[in-house]
Symmetry: C2
Subunit: 167 residues, 2 copies
DNA sequence: GTATGTATTTAGCCTAGCTAAACGAATATA
DNA sequence: TATATTCGTTTAGCTAGGCTAAATACATAC
């Protein structure tokens, strides 16, 4: 099949590009104590918070224990605060601290600095292609991996709305 | 500055997209004993080999000890073979085994299967955007991170040519 | 022939992923 | 009301994959 070959090529190139992009950016992030996993989780807390640990795990597509440990580290480093829910004693709400918000934004600034020279060498058209592609990808990845499994589709953007219905 | 804001936005969205893409694909790869790191390294060996461990580390932008360990695992699992260089006793050449080549291709097939449904929902135009973007990215990332540091620019594609000059 | 350089490995550390299982709190049911 | 179940989080313990520092073994230059 023609279309499947095209998709295979796209998937594999995306995979390769993603791996190498992350390796490139890792150093910048870690220079300020913001690993990739933390940067990604923290940005959900900063832009989408307050959020529970479980929701954050779903939004980030990692297991709950993994997120618990990330949160422990971020709390120890003063990036987020825990707050128990008044009505439901099982729930922990996460909020960014001032430091957390600042570090996240610094991280984002450093990250672009690491790519800026190279992004600047691109034509406007190429930059536009990258911008569009990242949007297409996020939209694509936000969809459920396998609609048939019944796993609820969770997106970073509906974290608030899901919890908003909690009583 | 206008352009820097645009670049920041692109860099951050790419970062986010890359993280989530890899988390999505990881399960598929690991289902057949091909982690992301192995899949990426193995593809260099299969498509660009024979290659030395040091060159592979450079091509993958990881340290030599990291690559040594990856190779140990891949060799243990019969994906690659080591061969000492006849003229230079320090050098280890890596070649894919039949199994390694097969597994790599299976991995690539599974990987697209994991994204296929979703790629199929895209318009031809969007698919084209993703394809272009991955090419632009690989080209961008192949360039030296910081041209000033004197670090030699190493690409997956010139692995052969670099080694071809060895006597 | 000694010193220096190069390719790989060893040792030891860290983060971040996982599953299984424990725990405490909430909720449903008999 | 007592009991069972479900839910959110944490603990415990494993693995892979990243790093640096230092050891090893070979090659080369002086």
């Amino acid at each position: 099949m023609q279309i499947s070959d095209v998709n295979q090529s796209i998937a594999n190139r995306l995979h390769s590009a993603a791996i190498h992009l992350l390796r490139r950016l890792r150093k910048q992030d870690e220079a300020m104590g913001l690993s990739q996993a933390r940067a990604s989780a923290l940005s959900v807390v900063v832009f989408g918070g307050p959020v529970t640990i479980g929701d954050l795990a779903h939004a980030e597509h990692v297991s709950a224990p993994t997120m618990t440990r990330l949160v422990i580290g971020m709390e120890r480093d003063g990036l987020v605060r825990r707050e128990r829910d008044a009505r439901d004693g099982r729930i922990v709400w996460l909020k960014p601290t001032t430091k957390g918000t600042r570090i996240l934004h610094e991280g984002r600034r450093r990250r672009v600095a690491a790519l800026a020279e190279q992004l600047a060498t691109l034509t406007e058209r190429d930059r536009q292609t990258l911008a569009s592609a990242s949007q297409i990808l996020e939209r694509l990845l936000r969809a459920a991996p396998r609609p048939a499994t019944g796993e609820r589709p969770v997106s970073t953007t509906d974290v608030r709305s899901r919890r908003a219905t909690r009583r």
